[in-house]
């Protein structure tokens, strides 16, 4: 046994409800554990009991016994635990200390007074193992998010830990970066036999390999075999498809699913086609934007009409954020024009956002008042609207019980809803959302998909930049793909997410013609 929890209950300081309750779990050497559950459910807290950050860094009361690598992480100095348990956090920016890749990896070794020659050897091994040897001399600030997370992994690997604790390490990455990172982790697990705990929303690649899936919800833990975990909320598309078709045993990988459906009679019930779009609301004509020598947008033309929900897809740096910013007037285009309802858009950001409101990526930037009620009232005042409607608006965004809370005390999902309420309180006809599901759990995504469909039904329109294909396939009527500042696809969503499209969903790759597991039934 490399890690054992014996009836562990933990409460954060100043909180009256326990964050972890009666956790009992025993983990063998070399296991790969996938942690799932809603955000705020206790995954991060559980991971932090591995290296003693809970309770040593966070304080609070911990009852029960824990043993990790033969040590008691509650009493062993975190400095010692750091050489047994390597931890990678969500944000690449919030865990880097040094300037260059090499220095960053050496940092932990320097803290542990490892001799210089040994430091050099271990740095070399770490970059070699993670395939980032070519980045060794680079500055961290010039790396992509995915590369930075691999550097963070190399940095903890250099301490030669026996256990890796990864706390949603890919939630801030684009799909490509996330895939590379997950591959690196799986590779480490396989080659070095490391015990891995990984909390992750992108489960499709990990679940097939995981030894167990641990569901942590409201502080309680439940263990599942990977094949049974298809029933859990937010399960990957493949096991859900398996469940719908009654495949036995339920498939875990794309290959298993493909093999299992061969020769079966499958009916596809696509959802009713969206009503034809109405009058045009936004038209961007030949927008060009350059940042220094980088051409962010090169003559991009897009339109958005009443009732349209458009998914804006593309790799990091393809120009998605720039397009949204240019439409709302935060970025001035070098060429091109933006029209609202056929008229030239007003020059001022405040006037433009009254018609087409933009939700920026980080909700925390939006929130600044003492309570949520004040926050919503301030938004309404800014748009010269009646303040009495705050309660109704809160109810619409499922925030009614949270009106008196401080915005910074809310959970990530609640903050995201609060930011939406604050930015969209004036009910603009056009919504521009920049990666609204970054780090969001399954339930939040479900809810947001519903809200978007309601908005379209009332004649509104939305342009949503996202990396999350499975999420977009739930609501999008149209998809636009940007590549290096140019539009390379602009067409119906079913085409974009279909088997032959640029961004096929998992189900489309198994059952052509269908996009989501819910559209498929055994005939």
């Amino acid at each position: 046994m490399i890690a054992v929890w014996d009836r562990v209950t933990y409460t954060y300081p100043g909180s009256n409800a326990p964050a972890l309750e009666e956790i009992a779990c025993a983990v063998h050497h070399g296991e790969l554990l996938l942690l799932v559950g809603p955000s705020g459910g206790g995954k991060s807290t559980f991971l932090r009991t591995l290296n003693g950050l809970v309770p040593q860094f966070h304080g609070g009361i911990l009852q029960g016994r824990i043993r990790v690598c033969g040590l008691d992480p509650v009493r062993t100095p975190t400095r010692t635990m750091a050489t047994r348990v390597g931890m990678v956090f969500q944000e690449p920016e919030a865990q880097a200390i040094a300037d260059t890749v090499e220095e960053e990896i050496a940092f932990g070794l320097e803290l542990h007074a490892v001799p210089s020659a040994e430091i050099l050897r271990r740095v070399a091994t770490a970059v070699e193992t993670l395939g980032i040897a070519h980045l060794r001399q680079r500055r961290l600030s010039t790396l992509s998010g995915g590369e930075r997370q691999r550097v963070a992994l190399a940095a903890v690997l250099a301490l030669e830990p026996q256990v890796l604790a990864l706390d949603e390490p890919t939630s801030q990455l684009d799909p490509e970066g996330a895939e590379h990172f997950v591959d690196a982790v799986l590779d480490l697990h396989r080659r070095l036999g490391l015990t891995v705990f990984i909390a992750e929303h992108r489960r499709d690649r990990i679940q097939p390999i995981a030894s167990r899936v641990l569901l942590i919800d409201r502080g309680r833990m439940q263990a599942y075999a990977p094949r049974d975990a298809g029933r859990l909320p937010g399960a990957p598309a493949v096991p859900r498809l398996g469940l719908r078709l009654g495949l036995e045993p339920p498939p875990l990988t794309l290959e298993e699913a493909r093999a299992a459906v061969v020769g079966r009679r499958i009916a596809v019930h696509p959802p009713a086609a969206a009503p034809a779009p109405g009058a045009e609301l936004v038209r961007a004509e030949a927008l060009s934007v350059t940042y220094g020598a980088v051409e962010a947008l090169a003559g991009v033309s897009v339109s958005l009409a009443e009732g349209e929900l458009v998914a804006l897809l593309g790799k990091n740096g393809a120009g998605k954020t720039t397009l949204l910013r240019t439409i709302v007037g935060l970025t001035k285009p070098a060429a091109g024009a933006v029209r609202f309802r056929g008229q030239p858009a007003p020059p001022d950001v405040r006037e433009r956002s009254a018609f087409a409101a933009l939700l920026p990526q980080n909700p925390a930037y939006v929130l600044s008042r003492r309570t949520l009620a004040e926050e919503i009232r301030a938004s309404l005042e800014a748009r010269a609207m009646r303040a009495g409607d705050a309660r109704a608006i809160a109810a619409r965004w499922r925030l009614a019980e949270l009106l008196d809370r401080h915005p910074y005390d809310l959970s990530v999902g609640q903050q995201q809803r609060a930011a939406l309420a604050v930015m969209l309180a004036h009910e603009p006809p056009v919504w521009l959302l920049d990666e609204p599901t970054r780090g969001a759990d399954h339930e939040t995504k479900e809810w947001l998909a519903g809200i978007l469909r309601e908005h379209a039904a009332r004649g509104g329109a939305a342009l949503v930049a996202t990396h999350d294909v499975e999420f977009a396939a739930r609501w999008a009527t149209r998809a636009i793909v940007l590549e290096a500042g140019r539009v390379t696809f602009d067409g119906p969503a079913r085409e974009a997410f279909g088997a032959a499209g640029p961004y096929p969903t998992t189900v489309a790759r198994v059952v052509p013609g269908a996009l989501l597991p819910e559209e498929v039934v055994a005939a």
């Binding site: 950050l53 860094f57 100095p77 975190t78 400095r79 750091a82 050489t83 931890m87 956090f89 920016e93 919030a94 865990q95 040094a98 300037d99 260059t100 090499e102 220095e103 050496a106 932990g108 070794l109 803290l111 542990h112 007074a113 490892v114 210089s116 430091i119 050099l120 740095v123 001399q137 680079r138 500055r139 600030s141 010039t142 903890v156 301490l159 940042y291 220094g292 020598a293 980088v294 962010a296 990091n316 709302v328 935060l330 950001v349 405040r350 956002s353 933009l358 920026p360 980080n362 925390a364 930037y365 939006v366 929130l367 600044s368 301030a378 938004s379 800014a382 604050v422 930015m423 004036h426």
Partner: protein, 361 residues
């Protein structure tokens, strides 16, 4: 050049520029500093700062002249008059404005040049060394303190970025501009900064960052004693007149106690580093030279030997120019030797092609 050599140079420039008041020698110092500043390899992030600092130094020069014009009058060679204003007796009775003398302007120009040289020297060091390189050069005993300072510095750009994004978010919300916007900006910046610091602290602790083990008791006592002793030594040097040597002795004692602590504590902390920048023999010699020149500039002046001073108020005469002092001032340019002789960086991956941060508007 290593961080240690750069720091030695900057301190030397400061000592020389503050003690040399002969405008000819000072001009030599300023030109030497400019030469070094031009030749110094600039870190990409800091090079904009050099231009700003040069501008800042030039404005200091102008400002010194302006203050001299406004501020009281001494000297005999009146050039012109500006409207005069006498501050009431109970506020000190200073006279502002009035006659402006040539002596005053010369004196202001000399002070301004000295400050210009110092500002430019530090700007050059700042543009050349990243905080991280400085951190690598710190003795192990100071490593933790220096690390915290470095991280503090590295959070600053993130805070500026926060400020920009929050202002944008406020505009997107339709919030009016002006004073009423300030709470809306301050709260997220402060809270965001705190949260970022906490997350970083957590990540550092997860990698084994912990308070260093305490140095031996005698060493801590030595460090504690060195501060009051140093203060007493300085005061003694300034005020004891004939008994100056007592002050000097106390000062020397304070310095040795401090170094005793530094060495003992560094040994205790182990101070493992990825790699230390090796200080070459040439650079060691240059550092010693810098220390000697600085000491000579402060303590070694004597009539007929090292006459660096010049006062326009004593007599508004053409300042003397002698080769010995000119050469002394020229020693400030020593980094040029290293900068000119340094091997061309071949394949140095510092400025990586295509290292453009994409995806960030």
């Amino acid at each position: 050049m290593t961080a240690a050599a750069w720091l030695a140079w900057a301190v030397m420039v400061m000592a020389v520029a503050l003690t040399v008041t002969n405008p000819f020698y000072l001009a030599v110092v300023v030109l030497s500093v400019v030469l070094v500043a031009v030749l110094a390899p600039k870190d990409t992030a800091g090079s904009a700062g050099l231009r700003v600092m040069a501008f800042f130094g030039a404005s200091v020069l102008l400002f010194a002249g302006l203050v001299a014009v406004i501020n009281g009058s001494y000297g005999e060679h009146e050039l012109f008059r500006v409207p005069s204003l006498r501050v009431p007796e109970w506020l000190g009775g200073l006279r502002l404005g009035g006659p402006v003398t040539a002596e005053q302007l010369v004196n202001a120009a000399i002070r301004g040049l000295a400050i210009f040289a110092i500002v430019l020297a530090f700007a050059t060091v700042n543009a050349t060394l990243t905080p991280q390189r400085l951190l690598r050069a710190t003795p192990a005993a100071l490593f933790h303190a220096a690390l915290v300072a470095t991280i503090g510095l590295s959070l600053l750009p993130a805070t500026i970025e926060d400020f920009r994004r929050i202002r944008e978010a406020q505009a997107l919300r339709g919030a009016p501009t002006g004073f009423r916007q300030i709470p809306g900006l301050a709260v997220p910046i402060v809270l965001g900064g705190l949260e970022r610091s906490l997350r970083l602290a957590e990540a550092m602790e997860a990698r084994g960052f912990a308070p260093p083990p305490p140095a031996p008791a005698w060493a801590r006592a030595a460090a504690l004693l060195s501060a009051p002793l140093g203060l007493a030594g300085g005061l003694g040097w300034l005020y004891l007149g004939d008994l100056r040597w007592v002050g000097a002795l106390l000062g020397a004692l304070a310095v040795s106690l401090f170094f005793a602590w530094l060495i003992a504590a560094s040994r205790r902390y182990g101070g493992a580093r990825l790699r230390r920048e090796p200080v070459s023999t040439g650079e060691r010699a240059a550092i010693v030279l810098a220390a000697l020149v600085a000491a000579a500039a402060i303590f070694g002046r004597a009539p007929g030997w090292l006459e660096l001073g010049y006062s326009p108020f004593a007599e508004l005469a053409w300042p003397p120019f002698r080769p010995l002092e000119a050469c002394f001032a020229l020693t400030v340019a020593w980094p040029v030797l290293f900068l000119a002789l340094r091997p061309r960086p071949v394949g140095q991956p510092v400025a990586v092609a295509g290292a453009v941060e994409v995806g960030r508007p």
